[in-house]
Amino acid sequence: MASSFWSHVLEIEKLEISPKPNWLELPRDITINILQRLGTLDLVTSASVVCPLWWNICRDPLIWTTIDMMNNVSLSHTQFAYSTRLEKICRYAVDRSCGHLKNIYIYKFGNNDLLYTIAKRSSKLRCIRLKECHEISNDFLCEVLKMQPYLEELDIYHCYRLRWFVFEYIGQYCRHMKSLKYFPCLKGDYLCDYVAFVIGKTMPELRHLTIFKNELSNDGLLAILDGCPFLESLDLRGCIYLDLDGSLGKRCKEQIKELWLPTDSADHSFNISDYIVSLQLKSIHH
């Protein structure tokens, strides 16, 4: 550091204007710092083919520890090949990560086989986020969870075939769950309090919980508060059978730093027509 600094001091004494640094001459880790913040689609189809140096840098598995395929806007959603192509890009990124994959975020594509392959290739997943992945089923997600003892974060957002049933296995296989968010497609699952008891019993390290539109009762909520002493953020929007006027509501406010109440506005209703369109596209494609 110091020696490079002296060289600059000499430069000013000679009244030389230093040339603008070339981006390709920056230290490798500085370039990695930028590239690893890009979404996976950008990395594969753009950044990695910019020049030989970046191609080489993108060989580094550390670039691929997070596969973020939540932002797929540059692709048209109505193409039949859309999900096939995204799946290929995702598999390519999984290959590149050489088992170092930690976080996987998937939006509007993916199937059981993809998820299973990811879980088989990467044994230390930390976070899985699935949004509108209608082809992934309970059974396969359970198999995946079984292989991921280090999983800390799971988000399930409007995935048609992932139901409350899966909760029974999350804590059982992933002992260190820190954050769990679930936005179901359909309400009225009959297991509501049972789910709450399971959470209280199997997820003692939980910090954040979103159980959207769950019909649990005060008994269920109490089991969660008792069983998850570190819980600091709780989203109960749409859980309309809770009565938080009394002592339970008071306890919630004392124990939880960040609390969304059942009556708080919730703009997360599932649009069934989206799902039907995705089914139609799939049947045309096959």
Binding site: M1, A2, F5, E16, N33, C51, W55, Y82, R85, K88
Partner: protein, 176 residues
């Protein structure tokens, strides 16, 4: 040389309310403008601090030939906020709104040169955001990078990535 520079001083006093602290540090931009800052600000800039340490604190005028007087105030502003623990999402959003692409890149290089980790991380994110969802050509132009793949390399790369471009709109295919 220190005297020379201070004589044509155009000073910007960052903290006037702290007369009891030790001597201020003079940062001299590439275009010879002097910025006086508190030692705590200099501490945020690892390159500056290690220079001060090297000379046992005897030298307090630091030439920064790679940083212009246009960019240095931004760097100082960010360091100030950082010391005060006031780097919020809102501040960062406002901060970046003022900057065009060229300024973002210059500040990034300044942060790299001065070795300010927080600012470098923040600007890395800003740059990543600005090249997101853009074509290869755009990214090359953004960084002024030539496409210097050899024909052999390019053929190999096309082969390896051919499948990623299947089923794309013709427009996109042209780009790649």
């Amino acid at each position: 040389m220190a005297e020379e520079v201070s004589s044509q001083m155009n000073s910007l006093s960052i903290s006037e309310t702290n007369p009891s602290s030790s001597a201020t540090i003079s940062l001299v931009s590439g275009d010879d403008i002097v910025f006086k800052v508190e030692p705590t600000i200099a501490k945020e800039m690892e390159t500056v601090q290690s220079f001060i340490d090297e000379t046992d604190g005897k030298i307090t005028t630091i030439p920064l030939p790679n940083i212009s007087s246009h960019d240095l105030p931004y760097v100082i502003e960010y360091c100030e906020k950082s010391i005060a623990g006031k780097i919020t999402k809102e501040f960062e959003a406002e901060f970046v709104k003022k900057l065009n692409n060229e300024e973002v890149k210059e500040l990034f290089l300044a942060a790299n040169y001065l070795n300010i980790k927080k600012l470098l991380d923040f600007l890395s994110q800003v740059i990543a955001d600005r090249i997101a969802n853009k074509s290869v050509e755009y990214v090359r132009r953004y960084f002024g990078i030539e496409n210097d793949f050899t024909p052999e390399e390019e053929a190999k790369l096309r082969e390896e990535l051919a499948w990623t471009f299947t089923g794309v709109d013709p427009d996109d295919e042209d780009e790649n």
